[in-house]
């Protein structure tokens, strides 16, 4: 088989949009978290534990992690698409990235609701 150039997968817009929306979510979470921590000086173990004992903080952190996961997936896939040319190797690496991200997401849930 000759090496035909193929394009036309007809996706990309959703990922591009998602990358921007998840970036905003992460930025808002970061600002709120920094603000909460700065206003409750000194940051002791107790302050930290009380903060994460609240339901809204756990949900917000989970939302942050979900945003990070999606954002990272789009970004890392972009890098792989740019630099890894053999399709088989690229697919294998993409699966590896997805599994890693899924593992981190699972670990986050475990930490938050331990």
């Amino acid at each position: 088989m000759t090496n035909r150039i193929v394009t036309g997968a007809h996706y990309g817009l959703r990922d591009w949009l998602a990358q921007r929306i998840t970036a905003v979510i992460m930025a808002v979470y970061s600002v709120i978290t920094v603000f909460v921590l700065l206003t409750s000086k000194p940051i002791t173990y107790g302050v930290w534990r009380d903060l994460f004992a609240q339901g809204w903080m756990r949900v917000a952190t989970l939302l942050f992690m979900a945003s990070l996961a999606w954002h990272a997936w789009v970004g890392v896939r972009d890098i792989l698409m740019d630099y890894i040319k053999p399709a088989g190797l690229r697919l294998a690496l993409e699966v590896l990235v997805l599994l890693t991200i899924a593992a981190y997401a699972g670990w986050t849930i475990q930490i938050l609701w331990r």
């Binding site: 150039i5 394009t7 007809h10 990309g12 817009l13 990922d15 591009w16 698409m81």
Partner: protein, 231 residues
């Protein structure tokens, strides 16, 4: 003026090499292209493209001290004493400063760079309002010199799949044209992780465009239209 020129003749040279020249400029030699023409009279084996010598044809796009530009509108006075000239990056070199533009024009052709209108042609011309015409400003002026696309890393890595800033600027030029009836098909053609979404908005294209155009803004407008039609 000291010129370091990238030299490569595939028939003679095993590898490309840099050659230094000392060019004595006269008072009338104002532009870098004048220096190149003078150099050609010293060493007629140096190969470069040139035609209109006034920034309209886009033939003499080269890499000047690491930044793409047109030799004919680059003032010698704005350059340092020592200037290094290389062919446009990321393109196959045919000889010296001449590159093979096939891939670049393939991408340009892939966006159908012409108005598609299925209505019967009117008696005189298809009219536009002044506002509709205004939208084409900053788009139609592109001279296809390839300075932008060959300064774009995404185009270097995927020249066969990514349309590149020049092609996308022209794609938007026809998407924005109210006389064109293929807007949806044009957007479909570009909705692809490689063809459009390889652009990561680093704006090298805007930095080098000798006509001061803004491909990044045009690409943004294409994405905006795609969002508009899908939400």
């Amino acid at each position: 003026m000291k010129l370091s020129i990238y030299r490569y003749d595939p028939d003679k040279d095993a590898k490309p090499y840099m050659k230094d020249y000392d060019v004595q400029l006269e008072h009338s030699d104002r532009m870098l292209l004048d220096a190149l023409v003078k150099l050609k009279s010293m060493d007629d084996s140096v190969a470069f493209r040139r035609s209109c010598r006034e920034g309209v044809c886009g033939s003499d796009a080269i890499n000047i001290n690491g930044k793409n530009g047109l030799a004919c509108i680059t003032k010698v006075a704005d350059l340092p004493e020592h200037v290094t000239l290389r062919p446009l990056p990321g393109m196959p070199v045919i000889r010296d400063l001449i590159v093979d533009m096939t891939q670049f024009f393939k991408q340009y052709e892939s966006i159908k760079p012409y108005v598609v209108n299925h209505d019967a042609p009117p008696e005189r011309e298809r009219l536009q309002s002044p506002d509709e015409r205004e939208e084409l400003n900053g788009l139609y002026e592109c001279i296809l010199c390839a300075c932008c696309s060959t300064s774009c890393p995404s185009f270097w890595w995927n020249p066969d799949k990514f349309v590149g800033p020049a092609g996308l600027l022209q794609a938007y030029r026809f998407i924005a044209d109210t006389r064109d009836q293929e807007t949806a098909a044009r957007l479909d053609n570009l909705e692809d992780p490689y063809r459009l979404f390889r652009c990561h908005t680093i704006m090298n294209c805007v930095d080098v465009c000798p006509k001061n155009l803004n491909p990044t803004r045009a690409i943004g407008k294409i994405k905006e239209l795609m969002v508009k039609r899908s939400v």
